[in-house]
Symmetry: C3
Subunit: 311 residues, 3 copies
């Protein structure tokens, strides 16, 4: 598979391209555990341009690059401290940073901004989240996690709960799941945060059965994967509006007891109160393993995009 930029999960058009990536990630995990990750990024530089805070995603990318022997330059608060303050356009920033780095990882509040960046970049661009748009590396690590945890991606029932309107991880994941057979989806959300109609239409076109529900209990009993998301405070105009919806879906011991023995709970993190801490010690709590998988997926993606020196 030849990839230049990583902009949206739809780029991974078939099972073969996904499975090739997962095999590479397995290899990265194996070599990391043995203490000898391949130093294929030596003398290479990654620039991380984060216009929104995101410890997890940024540190995960930076760790992936460092483990492969590469260097990182960047800014953790581009909107506060970069040339953006002086009125520079995103294309200009990208045109310049692309001359300093071999790959650019960008997180930006505006949907479509990573596509804009890719359009004027002389080096590969990786979308690390663009507003309510996409967050493809999250979707890839989510898929990889399901594969590692359940041993399969066909024939699974996935329930997604929380903010399904703005929750871009849910959108990206849905696109990827549609490549597989016998996927059954349940969307759990308050009315104001329903899964967008373009995604519902996409699923219909692809013939993927889904239902919308408000019953956490029903969904928990059925799900092989219970995918929780945070109600994102920063997407609401007022504290009051946010307060009304937070905590609408919570996984606690009661929900856990309804779930199958061979099921998993996932969360892109950070969580606020969607999963109570009592759940953490249950073997079905997969969210911290999920975060670790992000490291291997990102190492695999860096290898896929940048290849070995000289290739």
């Amino acid at each position: 598979m030849k990839i230049r930029h990583i902009l949206e999960s739809q780029q991974f058009r078939d099972r073969a391209s996904l499975e090739g990536l997962f095999k590479e990630a397995d290899e990265m995990e194996r070599l990391s555990s043995s203490g000898n990750p391949p130093q294929i990024m030596k003398a290479r530089i990654m620039a991380t341009l984060f216009y929104e805070p995101s410890t997890r995603t940024r540190l995960s990318f930076e760790s992936a690059m460092a483990r492969l022997g590469g260097s990182v330059i960047g800014t953790e608060a581009a909107s506060h401290f970069s040339s953006a303050v002086k009125g520079e356009s995103l294309p200009d920033t990208i045109r310049v940073v692309g001359r300093y780095a071999d790959v650019i990882v960008i997180r930006h509040p505006q949907e479509g901004s990573s596509r804009t960046a890719a359009g004027c970049s002389s080096v590969p661009v990786i979308n690390a989240g663009d507003g309510a748009g996409q967050h493809p590396t999250q979707a890839l690590l989510d898929m990889y996690t399901i594969k590692r945890e359940l041993g399969r991606l066909d024939n699974i029932s996935v329930a997604m709960a929380g903010d399904l309107l703005y929750g871009r991880t849910v959108h990206s994941l849905t696109y990827l799941l549609a490549h597989y057979n016998d996927i059954r989806l349940t969307f759990l959300s308050p009315e104001q945060l329903r899964i967008p109609s373009n995604i519902r239409q996409y699923l219909k076109r692809r013939g993927v059965p889904f239902k919308e529900s408000t019953s956490m209990e029903d969904a928990a009993q059925e799900a092989d994967v219970l995918y929780m998301t945070r109600i994102q405070k920063e997407r609401f105009a007022s504290e009051a509006e946010y307060r009304k919806l937070m905590g609408c879906y919570v996984v606690d011991r009661k929900i856990l007891n309804l779930m199958k023995e061979k099921s998993i709970i996932m969360h892109p993190l950070p969580r606020v109160d969607e999963i109570s801490p009592e759940v953490d010690s249950d073997p079905r709590a997969a969210y911290f393993r999920q975060a670790e998988n992000g490291l291997y997926i990102r190492m695999a993606l860096l290898k896929t995009i940048l290849g070995k020196r000289g290739e």
Copy 2:
């Protein structure tokens, strides 16, 4: 000595464990000066999570890791830009970052936070200051400085001046000094910033003679070590309250003239006006050498905790 986390100075329970560390630090200094520090942290990653600003401590840790060939990921302003903003708990952040890094260095405004972090971390945690709590690596570099400067740690008179209530470096240092013989302590502070009673009681239990005083002149004449601290503006509710106390103890040429020829002035830095610049050129001004010693102590600690790859 087997150490997993570095959380408080009391972990160094005896002279032997301290002296082992100091010997390692000597070796690090020797190898650094020769331009060949051992590259034992190759392919290792340190995460620095700073929820409070601290150029000195952060850069010192990062330099220690880099000199040993390791990489650094992190945030210099975790409370502004990290997932904490989105409501993530410290344990969750640690659980995730521990999967990206081989060691976590944390500075946090809340006392006890580094212990909380260690309690849920899969990798070693180093406390780089937790509120009014501890700052153990500072205490270790302080002890190391006294040893290097005076050639001994027994039989010394130490005067500590300034903010002895919130000044955590003073607390940590006092615990470590109590391991040695013939230590005589003098505490110089305004009434509102007295050394806490739990430390006074500890000294009594250990039979370490100390006195509280307000006379800088007396203390200066007696001291082998005059340890100055900053009145910390950020600990006061109002500017007015701070103004009343700042500048209550100042080392200037007059004080310097009262001091013994074989004595030293120390300061954890940053200083504001506790030591006037005219003192800097005096050979007894040890505070910049003290800062440099921090580098060697932190290199030694990293080696102690992480060992060589494969050990």
Copy 3:
């Protein structure tokens, strides 16, 4: 040429010292393109202390250091998060950071601050811009760009437009151009932002012909180099004052059509609206190549100052 600190463009007193640097930069460009930049900064550390935002300059220095195999420690927002907040003086910060790093790159809002830093530093200091003062590495990369683009530095007509009062890049560049023969300068600015009188007097002493003008059209027709600068919003007291002057000089297709075939448009970047995007695709638009040249010049400067280990 023996250089310790890089503080102002006047340090490069003659053509020979400039041309030696440019030759080194050519070599850096050649080795970078071949994927094998010399790893001469291995085990060396650069500290970047940025008291003002500057993505471009900081990332360019960090990339230069990383490409040469060195490490970087630093802060992208020193005035928000460093010890400066606690009231530490710049000399104290430098004295300490100089013990953690092998070279310090500083950007500071106050004119003369890099000289202050150099005065108390135990390691080389590079001025990355000090207020309305100097920005010598920008001037060097500007000269290098003219040399690469036009093939010569003698016998050229240079028009500089925009904020010539606060625009330090223009000041530094003017000093360097004066080393060459048959230089003809045109200064285009609103009355409030005229080139300072000390620079005009300097040019008169050196016998460099210059004129002041307000006609962009005339300047465009004559110039071998049209050097645009941004009206710097952050130098104005009010938005209204800024609004009056922004956009006073703009390069668009109309201006481009007046320019010689063998001429170039330069800009230190970031641009706001001084050059319209339609100009970007013209071969005479040299500003992004100019930014890239900064990388090679900074690599060359690091080699010049720090030399190889053991030299």
